[in-house]
Symmetry: C2
Subunit: 228 residues, 2 copies
Amino acid sequence: MPQPFIILIPIYQGLTQLDFTGPYQFFCDLPNVDIKVASIGGQPVTVEGFSFADLSVLEEITHCDLLCVPGGNCTNAIENSDFIAAIKRLGQGARYITSVCTGSLILAAAGLLKGKRAACHWAWREKLALFGATPDAGRVVKDGNIITGGGVTAGMDFALVVIAEMVGEDSARAIQLRLEYSPEPPFHSGNPETAPKAVRDKVAQKLSQQVTEKSPVLECAARHLSID
Amino acid sequence: MPQPFIILIPIYQGLTQLDFTGPYQFFCDLPNVDIKVASIGGQPVTVEGFSFADLSVLEEITHCDLLCVPGGNCTNAIENSDFIAAIKRLGQGARYITSVCTGSLILAAAGLLKGKRAACHWAWREKLALFGATPDAGRVVKDGNIITGGGVTAGMDFALVVIAEMVGEDSARAIQLRLEYSPEPPFHSGNPETAPKAVRDKVAQKLSQQVTEKSPVLECAARHLSID
């Protein structure tokens, strides 16, 4: 039996849990993988109603084959220098560097996306440019060994692309069938282009405020990166 | 402020975590909800790589407005008489009785689906008939106050249907936009009708074995139900 393929998912307070629990479910069906979900100090990560516990200690992990960084309140992760140092170190040694949603901003702040195209949540996407990355509106974007997914639920499409890359399309199709991934959204409102104007304006205004509030953190991280 | 709307998600060892973490992410965006994730004794539920902890104690919860039962190795839950008693008690008092994937078999084993139509994972769906329910191949199935989703990833479509029912379509559309739910599966293999034959045959054979192995538990539960 060859060494298991190590998939590392680093998590943090304020993450959007579906960014990782979605791809996680798809990765779980792969043979001979070791999936580590890790946090700084192995500390539990809480969301409303429960915690993620029994996590690996991020700083103690020496290597992974695939790094998958989820999004959410990404500036919490970006402001934590230990977290960013671990992402940089583990990303540099990984075969695949990946993210879902605003996880790409975390990869970018770790200096892993300079000159690369990447996906991100639609409301945050343009901020990738601060770090020398090229924002791409694709649902899943591949640039060399970097594979990034768009907002939250893009994690499922992303997982299938990653799995096809790792072990081939038929294995991805088999997992898709097991997880019955034949989406039928009851509404057409999943991105700013398809959402009704009133819905789009309301959501965009709210998210735009959040992005504006957090922009100084991103700008500071970008300055720090260019000094490194 | 009115009393919060209580959403209860009972979990158990062997569940498929995405069955609940998917809808959970959508429900989290609702105003004035109290989402409780509960297990027998409040015990942690482990999956590969982490645990769900800080759970509510299922037996101590007196009421919920929406009961949402995830699937997975559903016979683990069905064989636990305390779990099934709690599902029956809480379902009878709930405004909405819901499930994702084989969670509908758990609702059925609790006697909550007699004479009702329900969705389920495609490989397990026909087993609903053991409990007097009518298997329905729909992605999301509504029958009165019972709303059930198909296999695993159907939980996202299910959540939007439930949210539209609870608070209206525009709220559902706003959440869909925030979570960027505009799926683009890279392959067409999400159900037995669309999967390539070789993929379908392999997956169906494997799942059919699992269903056959677990059938005695379902048959026993069905006999028990008709005696009640």
